[in-house]
């Protein structure tokens, strides 16, 4: 098998590395495909369905999620068709009914010429893209949060809705959340996230707060660092 495959996106002839996704190929060619649950650092997930495109391959036309569909020789991709736009409009309207304030959602809605959601509002804030859960698991390597319940009642939650025993308060979940749903604050040497207060470690020289103790312990453990590695902050080193 050769390393490159030939495909067309919106009529443009392109070459893309075998094994890459349509979304990547489009990005490389500066073709815009909206997406919400995809992040290059995370494994393909394909849940928000905003990134759908219409493909024709071996005489079969269908709608697929571009963030997971791998490019193939002779693949023809249309990123803007009526069917595609209908799915995207539906998705953004449905998400707006969970969160009508998010700038990210509004920007996408505007590009799709959606003014507002026609659906019953049921403001939940979280749009269940799962980026927080996946980042925690795949990037941080902790797995402190997960899904609770299924279907429309699904939520991102800590185990049993209690203080998350494995959480190291690194804040990555809040950082990746596209709709700023995850509450996160830092005050008087305490970081608060997932309704839990995490004391932070002070620099033994300047007294500044470096990071939550649990987070530093986690680094020491996983990276095999000496016990006093984080006693002094970067500035004082």
């Amino acid at each position: 098998m050769s390393d490159k495959v030939n495909l067309t996106i919106d009529g443009r002839k392109l070459e893309a590395p075998a094994g890459s996704t349509i979304l990547q190929a489009a990005k490389d060619a500066n073709i815009y495909i909206p997406h919400l649950c995809h992040n290059d650092e995370l494994k393909p997930y394909g849940a928000c369905r905003l990134c759908v495109v219409e493909i024709t391959h071996r005489n079969r036309t269908r709608i697929v999620a571009s963030c997971i569909y791998e490019v193939a020789e002779g693949l023809e991709v249309q990123t803007v068709t009526e069917r595609v736009l209908n799915v995207r409009k539906l998705v953004i309207e449905l998400l707006l009914s969970r969160n009508k304030k998010s700038q990210v959602l509004q920007d996408i809605a505007q590009k799709l010429e959606v003014e507002k959601s026609r659906f019953e509002l049921d403001i939940k804030g979280c749009i269940l893209c799962g980026m927080c859960i996946r980042t925690c698991k795949e990037v941080v390597g902790v797995n402190a949060i997960g899904y609770k319940s299924r279907g429309f009642t699904r939520e991102v939650a800590t185990p049993f809705d209690e203080t998350p025993p494995d959480c190291i308060a690194c804040g990555s979940c809040a950082y990746v959340c596209p709709v700023d749903f995850i509450q996160y604050s830092e005050k008087n040497g305490v970081r608060t996230i997932w309704n839990t207060e995490f004391p932070m470690q002070k620099c033994t020289k300047c007294g500044r707060h470096i990071a939550p103790v649990k987070q530093l312990d986690h680094f020491k453990e996983t990276l095999n660092l000496p016990e006093d590695h984080f006693d002094i902050c970067l500035h004082c080193r």
């Binding site: 394909g46 369905r49 569909y69 209908n86 539906l90 449905l94 319940s149 299924r150 279907g151």
Partner: protein
């Protein structure tokens, strides 16, 4: 028990078993399927056995507790063979009489016979009963010929013969070619040709390769797969063994719905028995072919029956579909080549092999071959499991096998394909049962649910009911299915409550298409079908709800009023007691009245009135 070390060894053993069956002995076959067991069949079995023992008749007759016969509504069912005498609703006290009169003296017992509701005629033989007449029970029919806990019973009817034949004389690729030629298509929903799936799995690179039986059966009201597993577990094992041999697989799984304890018990026992004989395990019948099967209890959700969710569940992860545009035949369970087929699909395999692709092809339509088992339920006289040749019309199933609609009411629609199937109206009743035809009609074959609806069914309400089920079963991973199905249901709710708005129908149609296009797995992909198909065929009913604020079928409470017809009411007083709010007033033998302020539209009076004097508007 001795291990069979060559195919010849097997054939010798099988003829021995066949010879040990005394053809002169009468078999009293008692259905011990889940349906009949619920009527207390176990006592009946014990009763017959005790009676036979007491009278010392063991040499002339045997009792056989068999799997489901399909006509569950008439249970407990007893068949007397030879003669194929069909007794229904048999009680413990009937046992001595059946032994005395029927078995010993060849007389039939009138009161236990089935009475044809149309002609009033008493029917003696099973195959003359209207319910069975048009069926072709190649698979379900075996249920009454065997006791599912006895491997010898299965061997005696030729069981494992197809496996032995394949192991002794057929190359794996030839087996696949035979299945392709027979055009056996998957019975679990999609109707994908099994032979192609086997072929792809065989050709895929990877080791080990897995063969899996999907026995999750999550459709409400469906129990086809359950009846096969409970009533004839060996035939499923034999099918899987043949498939594994053809594919080159050494490991298999049966993924069984958790609520099926008897199926698990019977299949577990069957695996043990087959292993003892050397039909499962290492070097089967002394050949190079080795295959073992594990049982996996289901994750308890409807979506776990979906292939990628099923793999996740076996792997110990949450039973959630994965969006992978790679075929399971290349990367399925544990990312290895995997062939997943439904219980009924596997059960068809020994049949195809032993009777040949040519024979199999002779049954059915151009592109749908063999038989299909349906769970026939709803507003129909004969409910139960039916196995029919492909190509039979819906009308034949509903009006001949099913005996039509009860209480002389009119047929309105039939829903095929499980909760996400579509509703087919009267005008298409002459359509053949065929994978492609049903899809064309906006429904599908699905796994074999068939729900009949009469004129008193509101199509908006029924669409809402199915959607509610699917909303509850959505895993919640992708947006269109999780949010979209919910919002469609919200719109249907408001239509049924009399708050439908101009444009709702068009919104539903638009959403339905986008949800079907955009969802991650086939649950969302097919979830809009109940709504889309009812809009397609019963649009006027939707319009009546929205524009006229009326429910033509008289179901949606917010849109109906009950009235008492002064002409027909004869004051029989029957409606008095059932009314929970004392809304009905009037003396006996005098005209009754209904107080609209008190009426909560429960419909109790409507249901009990024998003179159709309660009318709904």
């Amino acid at each position: 028990m001795k291990k069979l070390t060559t195919p010849q060894d097997f054939f010798d053993y099988q003829s021995e078993v066949k010879k040990s069956v005394d053809p002169k002995k009468t078999q009293i076959i008692i259905c011990a399927g889940s349906g009949c067991l619920a009527y207390g069949t176990q006592k009946l079995i014990d009763g017959f056995k005790a009676e036979i023992e007491q009278q010392n008749l063991q040499d002339v007759m045997d009792v056989r507790a068999s799997g489901c016969h399909g006509f569950c509504e008439r249970g407990p069912i007893v068949l007397i063979s030879p003669g194929n005498i069909f007794y229904q609703k048999v009680g413990l006290k009937d046992a001595p009489e059946i032994i005395e009169k029927t078995v010993l003296n060849g007389e039939t017992i009138e009161r236990l016979l089935y009475k044809d509701p149309q002609t009033g005629e008493k029917i003696i033989r099973e195959h003359d009963v209207g319910f069975y007449k048009k069926q072709q029970r190649f698979i379900l029919g075996q249920n009454s010929q065997i006791n599912p806990t006895s491997i010898n019973d299965y061997l005696a009817i030729g069981g494992y013969g197809a496996l032995a034949k394949v192991l002794s004389e057929t190359k794996p690729q030839e087996v696949i070619d035979e299945i392709i030629e027979a055009n056996l298509r998957g019975r679990g929903g999609g109707g994908f040709p099994a032979g192609w799936k086997w072929d792809s799995t065989r050709k895929a690179v990877g080791d080990p390769k897995y063969v899996i039986c999907n026995a999750d059966e999550g459709d409400p009201g469906a129990y086809m797969d359950r009846s096969i597993l409970e009533g004839n577990p060996h035939t499923v094992l034999e099918g899987m063994l043949i498939g594994a041999y053809a594919i080159g697989s050494s490991e298999g799984y049966i993924y069984v719905r958790n609520e099926y304890p008897l199926a698990v018990t019977n299949i577990t026992l069957a695996i043990e028995q087959a292993r003892e004989l050397g039909l499962i395990g290492k070097n089967i019948m002394g050949t190079d072919f080795s295959f073992d099967i594990q049982i996996n209890r289901g994750g308890g959700a409807f979506v776990c029956g979906e292939s990628s969710a099923l793999f996740a569940s076996i792997e110990g992860r949450a039973g959630e579909p994965r969006a992978k545009y790679v075929h399971a035949t290349d990367r399925g369970l544990y990312d290895k080549p995997t062939c997943l087929n439904n219980v009924e699909t596997w059960a068809n395999v020994p049949l195809v092999i032993s009777k040949g692709a040519k024979w199999y092809q002779s049954i059915g339509t151009e592109n749908s071959k063999g038989t299909k088992i349906f769970a026939l339920v709803g507003k129909i006289n004969n409910t139960g499991l039916v196995e029919v040749p492909m190509g039979i019309t819906l009308r034949e199933i509903i009006f001949e096998i099913g005996g039509g609609i009860p209480k002389g009411r009119k047929f309105k629609a039939v829903q095929t394909g499980g909760p996400s199937g579509g509703c087919i109206p009267e005008e298409y009743l002459d359509s053949p049962v065929d994978f492609d035809e049903l899809t064309k009609l906006g429904s599908m074959m699905g796994s074999g649910g068939m729900i009949v609806m009469d004129e008193r069914t509101c199509m908006v309400d029924i669409a809402r009911y199915f959607l509610q089920f699917l909303e509850d079963e959505s895993c919640g991973k992708c947006t269109p299915c999780r949010e979209g199905v919910h919002q469609m249901r919200v719109i249907l709710d408001r239509i049924c409550e009399g708050n439908g708005q101009e444009g709702d129908i068009e919104t539903l149609e638009w959403m339905g298409q986008a949800i079907a296009d955009g969802s991650l797995c086939a649950l969302g992909g097919s979830a809009p079908a109940p709504v889309l198909s009812t809009i397609r065929y019963f649009r006027d009913e939707y319009e009546a709800h929205i524009k006229d604020k009326k429910c033509p079928a008289g179901v949606c409470k917010a849109l109906i009023t009950y009235k008492i017809d002064s002409e027909t009411c004869n004051g029989c007083h029957l409606c008095f007691k059932p009314c929970p709010t004392d809304a009905i007033a009037g003396e006996k033998k005098k005209l009754h009245t209904l107080d609209q302020d008190k009426c909560i539209q429960c419909g109790a009076c409507y249901e009990v009135c024998k003179f159709d004097a309660v009318i709904v508007e």
